[in-house]
């Protein structure tokens, strides 16, 4: 039987990872931010489509 997931441990390790990434050189962080910015731009259209879908659904429910 597999061991149950210790969510507290998972979240602690995640936080530790974040603290390490916070200390990365700023040039590296800016490069990541640039990639994220480009990804955001690439996703704009599909996000908008999803937003409209959600809005339409919400309007249908409230009608």
């Amino acid at each position: 039987m597999s061991k149950p997931i210790d969510f507290q441990d998972v979240s602690r390790r995640r936080e530790d990872g974040r603290k390490i990434r916070a200390k990365m050189p700023i040039a590296k962080k800016l490069a990541i931010a640039e990639e994220l910015r480009d990804l955001q731009k690439a996703l704009t259209q599909s996000r908008e489509v999803n937003r409209l879908k959600v809005r339409r659904k919400r309007e249908q429910v409230s009608d």
Partner: protein, 158 residues
């Protein structure tokens, strides 16, 4: 732009400023505090003429696009913003010195603005040990944000 006298000085703030202290996250623009010119009403984007003359003519999200990033030069008008501007520290980006607002000022500004993304970023600063709480609370109390801070802490530890 400082060397050319466009601005007396500057301080990187906002999300990019925050990234100097916490892990990288998505953002669309760069916010830079500058001092507002006192002798004239601002009728154009600060830095616009200077950058336009150098070929940066695209405007996106109220910022002038420089090397792919919309840069917003924000006049530091409130006492908190002025302090963030004045007390900014010089950090290096690959040997290039950059003036960046201190973490306690960035967090205090986020607290004051209070959008959802600001609240999330405050949590990043606290959980990543990126801000000295005593320095932050000093800024908070001096700028009349103690009630907001107490409310924030109450929400955080609920």
């Amino acid at each position: 732009m400082v060397a050319d006298g466009v601005f007396e000085n500057y301080a990187v703030a906002g999300a990019i400023g925050a990234m100097f202290y916490v892990e990288a996250f998505a953002t669309a623009d760069i916010d830079v505090f500058v001092l507002p010119s006192e002798d004239r009403i601002i009728i154009e984007l600060p830095g616009w003429e200077y950058l336009k003359a150098r070929g940066y003519t695209k405007v996106e999200k109220e910022g002038i696009v420089v090397e792919g990033w919309p840069v917003q030069f924000l006049p530091a008008t409130t006492p908190l913003e002025r302090e963030a501007y004045t007390k900014a520290q010089t950090l290096n980006v690959e040997e290039v010195p950059v003036r960046v607002a201190r973490p306690e000022h960035l967090v205090a500004i986020m607290l004051k603005v209070g959008r959802q993304k600001d609240i999330a970023r405050i949590a990043m600063f606290l959980s990543q040990d990126a801000v000295e709480v005593s320095a932050l609370e000093d800024v908070i109390s001096r700028h009349g944000l103690s009630d907001k801070w107490l409310e924030h802490k109450r929400q955080l530890f609920k």
